[in-house]
């Protein structure tokens, strides 16, 4: 019986429906999301193959296509075409994106996903109601974190309590419980000890035999909470024959603003940094600009994209992007240092998203670890899945951030290593604080610190 004869024996026949929805010519007029054509093109570059699904932390966590890169692109496309509206549910799925960019590494079509989600977020952020906590948080993100001195003042009471041994009491759930959850989380993330007042790093004395001039970007939170890593970076680079320059005019990289929907301020900060690192008066230009913080490095590398509407600065931004390196890349280029002392230790390596996905740096940090005698590196399952830090995500989406941190810690525990190496401040604070919360003995360390120990001693 053929299809036709089936029908003739059954006069009613099968119900016939169209598998291709008609194009609604009026939809575009109802679109709530206006994207510039370049950015919209990002959405149409997606061929819906689905290879991004297993790379996405949120999809692999909850199995919802609407919380996958392909699904979010579909939602943003739907908003831009007027097929759907910005309902709470839709915006919720877009908010839950970490912007970790693991999907960009996985995507065979080269979809530049982050531009699409960042433009969409910036568009909707203005029209959404904000609570007092939101406003406070935004003030902290935009006016406290990016300013090292203000941050040091703000941290002073906490540091005093830590010195007095009272920090544990102060951060007890019943004391902290009066604060909004996001502020509790911030208090938990503070590393348990550090100097009362971190000193600013000055450019070291110019060595006479330097072969390379390297600019160091110290970061804002990095220079307050992890200045030691900057000091170690300077020591290593000097030992390897570099002249290290730390321009005093450098500012926050602007990532917090850019990802928080304030690209205006991000651009202003970018201009400051272009000036600080490129306008060196009569001095010889820098060969490289390095940072040991993946989040900042990713932002600095993308200044040319950020400033693409400002033709006067595009060339300059491109110049900076081209000089920008993660510290691990520079160290690999400079070659393995001689006379490394053994650092007998079992470690595992976590890929910071802004290093692995945003900067596509995967091998150099691992290579550095492989140089160190006596070090055993155990591969980490799902090393490329976000730990939940994602800039300020762990403050704005605490539940998903915590689930991802726990997943990361389970994978770390399975390696048997008690030391986890990573090249980003945000991940370090997240993984360190979550390990403490769960009572898991774990040391979080930057590859620079381990290489420093192998070169100069101090890890016995």
């Amino acid at each position: 019986m053929t299809l036709e004869s089936t029908e003739s024996s059954n006069p009613a026949g099968p119900r016939v429906i169209s598998g291709v929805p008609p194009i609604d010519p009026g939809a575009a007029a109802r679109a709530t999301l206006k994207l510039d054509p370049d950015t919209f093109q990002r959405a149409t570059d997606c061929v819906h193959c689905g290879l991004c699904l297993p790379a996405c932390p949120t999809y692999t966590q909850n199995g919802l296509e609407s919380d996958s890169p392909r699904g979010r692109i579909h939602l943003m496309k739907g908003l831009a075409e007027g097929r759907i509206g910005p309902s709470e549910a839709v915006l919720g799925h877009l908010d839950l994106c970490l912007d970790c960019r693991a999907c960009e590494t996985a995507c065979p079509s080269g979809v530049v996903y982050h531009e699409l989600i960042e433009a969409t977020r910036e568009h909707f952020i203005a029209m959404r109601p904000t609570t007092l906590t939101d406003k406070l948080l935004r003030w902290v993100f935009f006016h406290l974190f990016p300013h090292p001195t203000r941050l040091k003042v703000a941290l002073l009471p906490a540091r005093v309590l830590q010195k007095l041994g009272l920090w544990g009491l102060a951060t007890h759930r019943r004391v902290l419980g009066v604060l909004p959850a996001q502020f509790q989380k911030m208090a938990q993330m503070l590393p348990p000890d550090g100097p009362l007042w971190e000193r600013r790093l000055a450019s070291p004395v110019k060595p006479t035999t330097a072969t390379r001039r390297v600019g160091l970007f110290t970061g804002c939170i990095g220079s307050v909470l992890y200045q030691e890593i900057n000091r170690q970076t300077v020591a290593i680079l000097e030992r390897l024959g570099c002249e290290v320059v730390i321009p005093t005019g450098q500012a926050c990289c602007g990532a917090i603003h850019h990802h928080g929907g304030d690209s205006h301020e991000a651009k202003a900060l970018a201009r400051k940094n272009l000036e600080a690192f490129l306008d060196l008066g009569g001095e010889k230009p820098l060969d490289w600009i390095v940072t040991n913080i993946a989040g900042c490095g990713a932002m600095l590398r993308e200044y040319d994209d950020l400033l693409r509407d400002d033709p006067a600065l595009t060339a300059k931004a491109k110049a900076l992007s081209e000089k920008m390196r993660d510290i691990s890349e520079v160290l690999v280029e400079l070659g393995k240092p001689t006379d490394l002392k053994p650092v007998p230790m079992t470690v595992t390596y976590h890929d910071a998203c802004h290093l692995r996905h945003a900067q596509q740096v995967a091998d150099p940090p691992r290579q550095i670890l492989s140089w160190i005698p006596g070090m055993r590196v155990v591969p980490l399952a799902e090393s490329e899945i976000c730990c939940g830090a994602a800039g300020t995500y762990n403050l704005s989406q605490p539940a998903m951030a915590r689930d991802l941190a726990e997943r990361k810690l389970r994978n770390i525990a399975a390696t048997g290593a008690r030391v986890c190496v990573m090249g980003n401040v945000g991940c370090a604070m997240q993984i360190d604080s979550e390990a403490r919360r769960m009572g898991m003995p774990l040391r979080v360390v930057h590859p620079v610190t381990l290489l420093h120990a192998a070169m100069f001693g101090g890890e016995d």
């Binding site: 019986m1 053929t2 299809l3 036709e4 004869s5 089936t6 059954n10 099968p14 119900r15 016939v16 429906i17 169209s18 598998g19 291709v20 929805p21 008609p22 194009i23 010519p25 149409t44 570059d45 997606c46 061929v47 819906h48 193959c49 689905g50 290879l51 991004c52 699904l53 297993p54 999809y59 909850n62 199995g63 919802l64 296509e65 609407s66 996958s68 392909r70 699904g71 579909h74 939602l75 739907g78 097929r83 759907i84 509206g85 309902s87 549910a89 839709v90 799925h93 996985a106 995507c107 065979p108 079509s109 080269g110 979809v111 399952a381």
Partner: protein
């Protein structure tokens, strides 16, 4: 149907999978409107996310009680619209059924829930092998894996692989998914749970239910669990890549290698334009001026591979290969295959809309067939490019079109249909590995004679008498026909992907 019954259905489903396990808001359902074949679109009434077989069974019972059709979905990486819901059907999605229940290295079988990812399973097996070898240093086992390797394997599920009988690059030597599925658990439309696996090591007696479910595309039962065969993972390879000035010569080489009695793991051809697309995307170092690239891989006992390699290279040379390179470096080999597996996705860098046809032809007809397919494209004013599993005679002509140009869409669909017809005419089939779904449904009566179609329909009715499971897919249905029309203008329907009525060809 009244609003009240609608709510009752959703409430019932919510009672089974919990409020977080059911999506019903139309905005959120938008993302479930299509799979990797984005031409066919339909919005489900809801999507449920069961976590256990029992929940699947309970959902099925409820949906049947309410007379609502059911569409199973895994990761939605299919290329034939097989997991798209039409006509108010509800999707049961296995994305939360990802548990790997057991891995038995001694008996070489792993049991996974249907939603476990193909690569995740192989990674878990590798971890288990490592653990075993740490504890049994005196009796170590070699590496093992789940062999089926569709290009989507990082994202696709074992349930989806089994339901579509997925192929891949290694199928030439190592077989398709059904060769690696030892048993399945599935839910029937009345909510009963069937398990075809009864003993640890042996095939079950009776008719081959496992084989029947493999490739049934969710029309006979909903797969919830798969017993996966674990096989030794080849450890020694030689990979040859050869460059040709004529696609014809590349295809001839493929045919000659098989004729010489050699069974490579895979033989893949990419035509010139595809080489350039892949090269632009991944910078592997392929020659961008070549007309065709042939990748051949052999695996097996290390000591005999070099001799085989020499014979293969001699055949390629005799067929006019311009450049022959081989590598045994594992890293370079991984890069090479990764470039090949991401070839389809890389097309997105060039075109916003394309669709990949999938057909099989006798290997010996490859040289002429590839030329004919390109000619059909030219007759319709279209460029067709080819990247295909040449060893299996499995061609994947890729059609590029502009989605907003209705005439071009129409021409594309006509050309695609002619290509399939041509493949049937020279003794081929309408699908090699992507399945039928809705995309090729209308070609089924051209492929099979009426008695065969009738038998398919009877088989379907035995499992699913009320046609509630993935109705309108794979087997021509008596109750639902989904037409892939694309309106040329708002009032004139046209541009069917496969015209709904074809007189059976003789």
């Amino acid at each position: 149907m009244t609003l009240a019954t609608r709510d009752e259905l959703l409430d019932d489903l919510r009672g089974i999978v919990g409020p977080a396990g059911l999506l019903t808001s139309p905005d959120e359902l938008l993302v479930y409107e299509c799979d990797g074949f984005s031409v066919a679109r339909g919005t489900p009434r809801a999507v449920a996310f069961p976590t256990t077989t029992e929940q699947v069974a309970a959902c099925v019972k409820t949906l049947r009680k309410h007379g609502v059709g059911i569409v199973p979905r895994g990761s939605g990486t299919g290329l034939a619209g097989g997991c798209v819901a039409f006509d108010g059907q509800v999707i049961l999605c296995t994305s939360r059924m990802t548990k790997i229940e057991s891995i038995d290295l001694a008996d070489r079988v792993a049991v996974a829930q249907a939603g476990a990812l193909n690569v995740t399973l192989s990674e878990a097996v590798a971890a288990e092998v490592a653990r075993w070898n740490q504890n049994h240093a005196e009796l170590p086992v070699g590496p093992m894996h789940f062999s089926p390797d569709p290009s989507s394997q990082r994202a696709s599920t074992v349930g989806g692989n089994a339901a579509t009988n997925a192929g891949g690059i290694n199928t030439l030597k190592h077989g398709v998914t059904s060769n690696h599925v030892l048993g399945v658990e599935f839910v029937l439309p009345d909510g009963e749970i069937v398990r075809t696996r009864t003993a640890a090591l042996y095939e079950s007696p009776g008719p081959d239910l496992t084989g029947l479910l493999c490739g049934s595309e969710g029309t006979l039962g909903i797969l919830t669990k798969v017993w996966c065969r674990l096989t030794p993972k080849p450890e020694h390879f030689r990979t040859v890549y050869t460059v040709y000035t004529l696609t014809f010569d590349a295809c001839k080489s493929v045919s000659d290698v098989i004729a010489a009695g050699i069974l490579p793991t895979s033989m893949e051809v990419m035509d010139g334009r595809m080489i350039r697309v892949v090269e632009d995307a991944f910078h592997y170092g392929f020659p961008t001026d070549a007309a065709a690239l042939l990748l051949i891989e052999i695996d097996g006992v290390d000591s005999i591979l070099d001799e085989q390699l020499e014979r293969i290279m001699a055949i390629c040379r005799a067929n006019g290969a311009r450049d022959i390179k081989h590598c045994s470096d594992p890293k370079r080999r991984t890069e090479l295959w990764s470039a090949r597996k991401r070839a389809f996705g890389a097309i997105g860098r060039l075109h916003t809309a394309y669709f990949t046809q999938d057909a099989c032809i006798p290997r010996s007809r490859l040289p002429e067939a590839v030329e004919r397919i390109v000619a059909i494209g030219a007759e319709h004013g279209l460029k067709i490019n080819n990247v295909f599993h040449a060893g299996d005679g499995n061609v994947h002509p890729i059609f590029f079109f502009d989605e907003s140009n209705a005439q071009e869409v129409q021409r594309t669909l006509e050309a695609a249909e002619r290509v399939l017809q041509y493949c049937i005419d020279i003794g081929g089939t309408i699908t090699g590995e992507h399945g039928v779904g809705v995309e090729k449904l209308a070609m089924m009566p051209r492929m099979f004679n009426p008695a065969t179609i009738d038998t398919f329909q009877k088989l379907k009715a035995t499992f699913d008498p009320d046609a509630v499971l993935n109705d309108g897919k794979l087997i021509p249905s008596k109750t639902l026909r989904i037409e892939l029309h694309r309106p040329v203008s708002p009032n004139v329907p046209g541009g069917a992907l496969c015209p709904p009525h074809h007189p059976p060809t003789t």
